[in-house]
Every structure is written in C-alpha cells, then in structure tokens.
Symmetry: C2
Subunit: 215 residues, 2 copies
C-alpha cells in the first residue's frame, strides 16, 4: 500500500470480450457433457452468474425443459417470480412476447394472507398468481416455502404452469423443496439446482438464457 500514488489497473474493458473469455473459461473448466445443447447454454449462463464451475453436478432438468419453457414464452406466457430481485433482473428486451413479469410478494394483502394461511409471505403471495399460473413460466429463486406451496396448489387442482425453474437457496427446506419438484407427480417440467445453492442471480440467468433464443 503506497498512499498518495495513483495505481494503474490493467483489465479487460470490452464487454463482448469479457463475455467471450468468461464463457471460454466456463466451457474449459465445467463438465457439461450431461446436458443437451439448449440446456448446456442455460447452465453456462447460470455458472457465469455465480462464478462456480462445479455447479453442473447439482443441476437437473426434465427432458426438453428448455424447449418447453421457450415455447411458452413465445406464446406469451407470464413469468411468475417469488422474489422482487428475480423479477427485477429479468431482461425485458430479451422476452419474445412482451411477457408479463409478476411478483406479488409486495402486494397489499400478502402479510394478512400469510397470517391467515399460517405460512410465509413468499408462499402466500402465490395465491395472488391466480389464473396466470396456467401455462406460465414459474421462477422460484428465493423461498423454499414458495416452491412447496406451488406443489401443494397443483395437488389441490391449480392450473399447471408450462415449466418451473426451482432454485431456492438456503438451509431450511431448500434442498427438500427442489427434490420434491424433481420428484413431482404432475409431469411438471422443471429445472433445479439440488442442494443448498441457488438464489435470485442464478434464477435470473436461467430465465434470461431461456428467453434469449426465444425471440
């Protein structure tokens, strides 16, 4: 540390070059062999968002997931999110049909609804998705309770979404809720990152990667 001097920093300034180098590093270091080409592209973006090349070991998707989710977006499906950060990170201009992005967590009635249902606000907010659930792309990037509650709604006869990206993060229920999604008895197309890892950045990367070739 030399106080009073102006250090010079040598780094890549070109956004396109940064992307190219990043993806080259990811493809060199990560084991992507298990994925079909369209899913591989999505997993590369997810790794890019978290900086961890060991992510693929925890990624699981139902067959044809990316195609199904992409077709839904093309058909105008809304993207239903459990967290504001997920909703805010989705790149609007990549969406093929000016798709609606919904996060009901901040809606007025949610705290009261959560108290009445005896659950978290993240789970209660799903009740406000209503009919939009039919054919939607669901992106759960934060709350395990939201993912569990989605499965309960489907068990009770709620309309089926087109695909569920289930990437809640954390220590209580995250791994279990993603296991339950992967084992769901509703033939529900899914993408999960098993275990504790997940979160809004990874979820946003998945949505944006799926959307990017749906235009």
């Amino acid at each position: 540390m030399v106080t009073g001097t102006s250090p010079r920093y040598d780094y890549e300034h070109d956004g396109a070059a940064i992307y190219r180098q990043s993806f080259a590093t990811i493809r060199a270091e990560a084991d992507l062999a298990a994925f079909p080409a369209d899913l591989e592209h999505v997993v590369v973006r997810m790794i890019h968002a978290c900086g961890m090349v060991d992510l693929p070991a925890d990624v699981e998707a139902s067959p044809g997931l990316v195609g199904v989710a992409r077709a839904a977006l093309r058909a105008g499906a809304p993207v239903l999110c459990d967290a504001r950060m997920v909703a805010s990170g989705i790149t609007r201009r990549r969406l093929p049909a000016d798709n609606e992005i919904v996060c009901a967590l901040g809606d007025e009635g949610v705290p009261e609804l959560a108290a009445r249902l005896g659950t978290t606000r993240s789970a209660a907010a799903l009740e406000l998705w209503g009919d939009r659930l039919a054919g939607a792309v669901v992106a759960v990037g934060n709350a395990p309770t939201a993912l569990f509650h989605l499965l309960e709604l489907l068990g009770a006869g709620a309309p089926r979404p087109a695909a569920v990206l289930g990437l809640p993060v954390g220590f209580v229920g995250a791994a279990e809720s993603k296991r339950a999604l992967a084992d769901n008895p509703f033939d529900l197309p899914y993408l999960v990152v098993h275990g504790r890892r997940g979160g809004s950045a990874m979820t946003v990367a998945a949505v944006n990667a799926i959307a990017s070739e749906a235009l």
Copy 2:
C-alpha cells in the same frame, strides 16, 4: 412418481423459525472465528443468501468496516449500486435515514458514455454518481469493471466514499478487482469476497445486514 395422487409436504411454514434454524445451521457449520462480532453478523447473512458455509475463507474486510458503513448510513449516505438487482434487493425500511439508492446503469446517456470512454456500461455508469460519491456506501455486486473504474476515479481525485462493498462475480477480472480493492492505496474501507464468487444476492445481504442495526 405416482401420477394422480396429491403428495403431502412436511416443511417449516414459520418465517421466524426458518430464520432461526438457518442461522443456527450456519453458526454450527461455518468458521466465523476470524471476524469481530459486527462483521460476523454480516457474514452470517451473506452465507444465508448463497447457501455456502465455506464462504468465510474468502471474506476480507478492513478493520472497523461495519461500524464505518453503518455510521455513514445513519448520517444519510446514499447507497450507490452497479446493478439494478442490487438496488432492487435492498430493504428500504431497514435503512436508517430514508437513504437514496442509486443505480445509474439504465440511465439514458450510459451506452454512449461507455462507447466514448471505451469501457463497459457498468463502469461508465459510475461517472453519473458524481458528487454523491463523497461519503457514500458503494455496493458493487456484479461488474469487475465497475470496481476497477471506481479505483481509477479515486486515483484521479474523485471524492472518497465511506465504504465499498466489493463483491463482483465471475471469471474475468472479478478476483483481480477485489484484490485491487483490498490493496487500495486510498485508505478506503472495504469488504470483499475474494475469488470468483460474489453477486447481487450476497451484496444485498451485506447491505441489509449492515443497515439492520443502523436504525
């Protein structure tokens, strides 16, 4: 998979209990011994946001970082963010002085400014922070180029922020920019996660944890 049945899911529904159990697991599994009490609280929240108990090995902060950042927030400092997801994740009601949250990345002039400066939009957007840099809390959760550019601005005589949370993520420049922040010759208080890991969720968790006891 048993199609046609309604599975029942056994999981914790109580938000407060989920937090308690999460933090207990983190404290049981993570090695937090290196941190003073106020920083430990922040690191626990960062682990909570990413699901990884091995995070502490990569965390470094300047002495007194949390106190300095907290005092700045109490004094009304703005929070200057490099990414929209960071800005959107900060819990407004936890901020002690109705602090301004700034992300200039989407501002009109940014693409042109980036082209003129020969850098990324994330780095160019910092130019629009202007005088707000003096005494601010800076939260870089996405772009290494933003963190490098901040250090360059300071080298050129820009007013000093109160504290910099440097947690850009990725494969090109992320580790290097955080090393440069930790080695900065400006006596700039900092918090970093060394290496490739970082990102908006971790950054938001740090800001919210610092803010939570500043009220």
